[in-house]
């Protein structure tokens, strides 16, 4: 489904996942080298890194695949 004239809704979703994923991934990397004084439960699993990375990868894929001008819906 396309929004407006040419941009697919999935492109917006891709951008959202990409930006959020990168921010979370970055925060996870920072915490890896600067562990918090009061860590969350299961901190040792470093969920921010793998979850943020996963969201960023998905977002990058969607943003690229549904980029404006490619004609995909």
């Amino acid at each position: 489904m396309k929004a407006g004239g040419s941009i697919s809704i999935w492109f917006f979703i891709g951008i959202s996942l990409l930006v959020n994923g990168l921010l979370i991934f970055g925060a996870g990397i920072y915490e890896l080298f600067h562990p918090p004084q009061v860590p969350v439960v299961l901190f040792h699993l470093h969920a921010s890194i793998w979850w943020g990375g996963l969201l960023a990868l998905l977002g990058a894929g969607y943003s690229f695949y549904f980029a404006p001008g490619k004609g995909r819906v």
Binding site: L17, V41, L45, A47
Partner: protein, 586 residues
């Protein structure tokens, strides 16, 4: 920025870091950007109110579900899972899936083929103006009042969880919704709902994953719940992890309900009333591009609805198993919100049932993930509110303004009216939120009012679609009788609490059980009155019922498409998974 977010002197459950705030602000900017981008595609009535009727099955299906996934839905049902155990999952499975499949396979063809703009619009075509007026006026006002109540409840939770000022939460979220819906109409609401749906999953899915790792899987979780509840001398602790096995007796489960109330009250009248006739959700289906997409959309919605307990019910159960007081190390016992959020409750550091999801979020999520989780809650609230105001604008414009006030309104005027109604709907919602802030008992009355109309409306619409003999007088008087009987039963229990043993068949019945049985009785009364009055009055001629009633409506066949493209096939798949899930968690 800090001053804007912080409520003076308020304690808070979680603290957002800079990266969390960036994620929240980015979300607001993105939804506004989508609204501005879509403004050019909302110039005609069909565009503004029906999103051009060009949505694919996936978009319509996800928006259909997202409009229902308000943040109170997320936090409230996680809280109910903590309070009632896995019984709360009934609201996602038997309380949704059969109704969605009924909508897809039986009711969508009539809604789609008659090209109505709204559910009250269908009643006008099928039963006449009086039924439409009754349904549209009640729906329009109840929708915005409910939206206001949700807005207030959301703001209270934001104050408790984040320490945000209550006025700040109300105004920022509602003004954002007003802008993007007024600009882009239903298309903008739908597109943002799909975005919000994805963010809700991205933000909430980590909690059950990490929770199950900590609890030692499903069997570890069940063992911990059993141990914790036994320690607290809770009656029938096993009932918290079984869906059906304790429903043979009212006193054997924490909800005080039996299987008749769940199957017929919830599964038939409440859920079918909501999912098949509440215009808030049905509007998304009417925006589908063709009949096959319209039929597939609720099936896609049902498939995802079945998975929602994973991010809502499971965190509530995990809270029951894992939450401990950080100071004493003992079990943390959550209490009702009105106790926890009172001055005394806050001074003692109590937490309400509805805080279980944010508590679990704070337990596992560090900077960044916490921001995404909070964004998921805000997104849930905004998608629910956008659904309310876009449905309100459509019903007001077509079924009240266009039908009763200005019958000759041009398309251009209707679009203008739709934009103003969006702002008006948000304004009334904000007004209701402030009203509730000063007189909280209003909340109970408005929530009850909303429930009065849903079950009888389902009986009226279903009889209208399946029985050509149902007459205009039958439809109107059935709807009226069903509504009044619901009001009567509610008032009876309010005045004389003992009456619950008659209304809900047991003195053990809790509030939810009462709602189930009231819906069951008023739905049956509506159906009975509709049938009796219809048999005594003149029906509409067949020629006027084409496209509206089973047997008089040519429904396109699907033999030319492969089995994998047929809605009936996917409905069967969803139906089988639904049965298997109920057996697994029996």
């Amino acid at each position: 920025m800090t001053l804007l977010f912080a409520s003076a002197g308020a304690s808070r459950l979680v603290h957002l870091s800079a990266v969390d705030l960036v994620i929240v602000v980015f979300y607001f900017l993105l939804v506004l950007a989508i609204g501005f981008y879509l403004k050019e595609r909302a110039n005609t009535g069909e565009d503004f109110f029906m999103a051009g009727r060009e949505m694919t099955a996936w978009i319509a299906g996800l928006a259909f579900l997202s409009a229902n996934l308000g943040s109170l839905e997320l936090m409230g049902w996680a809280g109910n899972a903590y309070k009632y155990g896995i019984l709360a999952a009934h609201w996602y499975w038997i309380g949704a899936i059969p109704a969605m499949l009924l909508l897809a396979l039986v009711m969508v063809p009539f809604y789609h083929i008659c090209r109505t703009h709204s559910v009250p619009g269908y009643l006008k075509l099928r039963f006449g103006e009086s039924s439409r007026t009754l349904a549209s006026v009640s729906f329009a006002f109840m929708t915005v009042l409910m939206s206001g109540i949700n807005m207030y409840a959301m703001a209270v939770v934001m104050r408790v969880v984040l320490g945000w000022d209550i006025h700040f939460s109300i105004w920022v979220s509602s003004v954002t919704v007003a802008i993007y819906v007024a600009l882009g109409g239903l298309r903008s609401a739908i597109f943002n709902e799909v975005l919000q749906f994805v963010l809700i999953w991205a933000g909430a899915l980590l909690i059950p994953i990490l929770g199950l790792i900590e609890a030692g899987g499903w069997s570890g979780l069940k063992a911990r719940i059993l141990q914790n509840l036994t320690e607290q001398h809770v009656a029938n602790p096993a009932a918290y992890t079984h869906l059906w096995s304790t429903l043979g007796d009212f006193s054997k489960n924490p909800m005080g309900i039996n299987w008749i109330g769940i199957v017929f009250g919830l599964g038939v009248f409440i859920s079918m009333g909501y999912w098949t006739t509440d215009f808030l959700v049905v509007q998304r289906i009417l925006a589908a591009k063709d009949l096959r997409s319209a039929k597939l959309a609720p099936i896609i919605g049902a498939a995802f609805k079945m998975m929602v307990p994973f991010i809502v019910i499971l965190p509530g159960l995990l809270g029951l198993a894992l939450l401990r007081d950080p100071h004493t190390g003992g079990l943390l016992r959550l209490v009702p919100g009105d106790i926890a959020w009172s001055e005394a409750g806050r001074a003692q550091g109590l937490h309400g049932f509805d805080e279980v999801l944010p508590l679990m979020l704070a337990r596992y999520c560090g900077p960044g993930l916490l921001g995404l989780g909070i964004t998921a809650l805000i997104a849930g609230f905004m998608s629910g509110m956008a659904g309310n105001v876009s449905a309100f604008a459509t019903v007001w414009t077509y079924d009240i303004y266009g039908a009763l006030i200005n019958k000759k309104a041009s398309d251009e005027l209707k679009v203008k009216m739709g934009r103003w109604c969006t702002l008006l709907g948000v304004g009334i919602s904000i007004g209701t939120a402030y009203l509730v802030m000063h007189a909280q008992s209003i909340m109970d009355y408005v929530q009850a009012l909303f429930s009065f109309f849903i079950a009888p409306l389902f009986a009226t619409v279903l009889l209208g679609m399946l029985w050509k003999r149902a007459s205009p007088a039958g439809g109107f008087w059935g709807l009226l009788a069903g509504t009044f009987s619901s009001v009567g039963m509610w008032a009876w229990v309010k005045v004389s609490p003992d009456a619950i043993r008659y209304v809900a068949l047991s003195s053990h019945a809790q509030d939810q059980a009462q709602n189930m049985f009231r819906a069951l009785w008023c739905g049956l009364i509506c159906g009975a009155v509709t049938i009796v009055v219809s048999l005594a009055t003149k029906p509409k001629p067949d020629a006027e019922l084409t496209g509206l009633v089973y047997g008089l409506t040519p429904i396109p066949h699907e033999e030319h498409v492969s089995v994998f493209h047929r809605p009936a096939f996917w409905a069967a798949v969803v139906g089988v998974v639904f049965v298997v899930l109920n057996i697994i968690f029996w």
